[in-house]
């Protein structure tokens, strides 16, 4: 799992928070787990393994959007 530098981590977290505030974030299922938007943000803030996955996913979204613009 990639660990981000603090600047990037802040940016990714902020993007998640913004989408959650706008009501554009939804709970995610993994086989055996469920995370609400609030839990995703909380895990990312705490820097847990799951939180790292959520930041990694957010970065993936940035890259995917950039590729299509």
């Amino acid at each position: 799992m990639k660990t981000f530098d603090p600047g990037m981590e802040t940016l990714l977290l902020r993007r998640m928070e913004t989408r959650a505030e706008q009501g554009r974030m939804i709970g995610v299922y993994q086989i055996g787990e469920y995370y609400t938007p609030e839990q995703q943000i909380e895990e990312a803030r705490k820097g847990t393994a799951a939180g790292e996955e959520f930041l990694f996913a957010e970065k993936k979204l940035m890259d995917e959007l950039k590729r299509r613009m």
Partner: protein, 270 residues
């Protein structure tokens, strides 16, 4: 030798958030039946170690598509108890394996290959999906879940259609991309379109496939086994030819030579 006409499906139902998988894999199971495959369906309460081991021992299927909870070194079933682990996966030897499960590509997948499987596909990430209708029903009926399950299933659909394993993996990746395009171009106004794009991309890039060549670490054995050695790694496919203009230029060289010779011969005759 495993029976190449037989295809085994494992579809737990009662583990946490497993209902979607139980119904999702049913689409592939039914497709396999319509295509004339001899299917073995180990579903719901039966999707535990002993019934699965018995079915493998008695029916010897050449291919195995299993859904369930997973971690680096474990794949579990309906009761969330282990079915295969890094130390207990010998029964998968000689078969083609696809585990729609979290993280098994980090440990169990390579272990399965070392035990002699022909090919394996699974995920280096926690396979993640969205659903607006919970996880008990058919994910194909859910606007958000459908893309995830269709994309994951596409690998096995392609195998049923008779394509080679690597191409089947590519077909699955193409399906993830098709759904990402749908959320980006066709339905960007949906409030959760970006969430769909995000997790489809994570799942797509987290799909790892291994075949016998991938686990060889020295050049001599690699070449002896009919694999290809380049970039200091053993591959099952030859290196890609130079792309774009380079490839076109290479293709044109023989034509230019022939035309040149024809011109010179023509000049001499005159």
């Amino acid at each position: 030798m495993p029976d190449t006409s037989k295809m085994m499906f494992v579809r737990p139902k009662n583990c946490r958030f497993c209902g979607n998988g139980y119904h999702g894999l049913n689409h592939v199971l039914q497709y396999a039946k319509t295509k004339g495959w001899n299917t073995i369906d180990i579903a719901a309460e039966q999707a535990t170690k002993q019934p699965i081991y018995n079915a493998i021992d008695q029916q010897d299927p050449a291919s195995f598509y299993g859904f369930g909870h997973g971690n680096d070194c474990i794949y579990t079933g309906d009761s969330e108890l282990s079915i295969f682990t890094c130390n207990e996966c010998d029964r998968l030897s000689g078969r083609i394996i696809y585990l729609l499960s979290c993280l098994t590509a980090n440990g169990l997948g390579p272990a399965i290959m070392q035990k002699g499987a022909l090919a394996y596909a699974g995920f280096v990430v926690s396979w993640t999906w969205l659903s607006a209708s919970g996880t008990d029903g058919d994910p194909y009926a859910d606007i958000y879940a459908r893309g995830f399950w269709e994309s994951a299933n596409e690998l096995w659909i392609a195998l049923i259609d008779g394509v080679e394993f690597r191409e089947a993996v590519s077909a699955s990746i193409a399906k993830y991309n098709e759904w990402i395009d749908y959320w980006f171009y066709d339905n960007p106004q949906d409030p959760y379109s970006q969430e769909c794009i995000k997790w489809l991309a994570v799942d797509r890039d987290g799909l790892l496939s291994l075949d016998a060549c991938d686990i060889i670490s020295d050049e001599t054995t690699c070449l002896q086994e009919g694999c290809y050695w380049y970039d200091n790694i053993c591959h099952s496919m030859p290196p890609k030819p130079p792309g774009g203009g380079g490839a076109i230029a290479l293709a044109l060289i023989p034509i230019i030579i022939i035309v040149g010779i024809a011109y010179i011969v023509g000049q001499k005759r005159h």
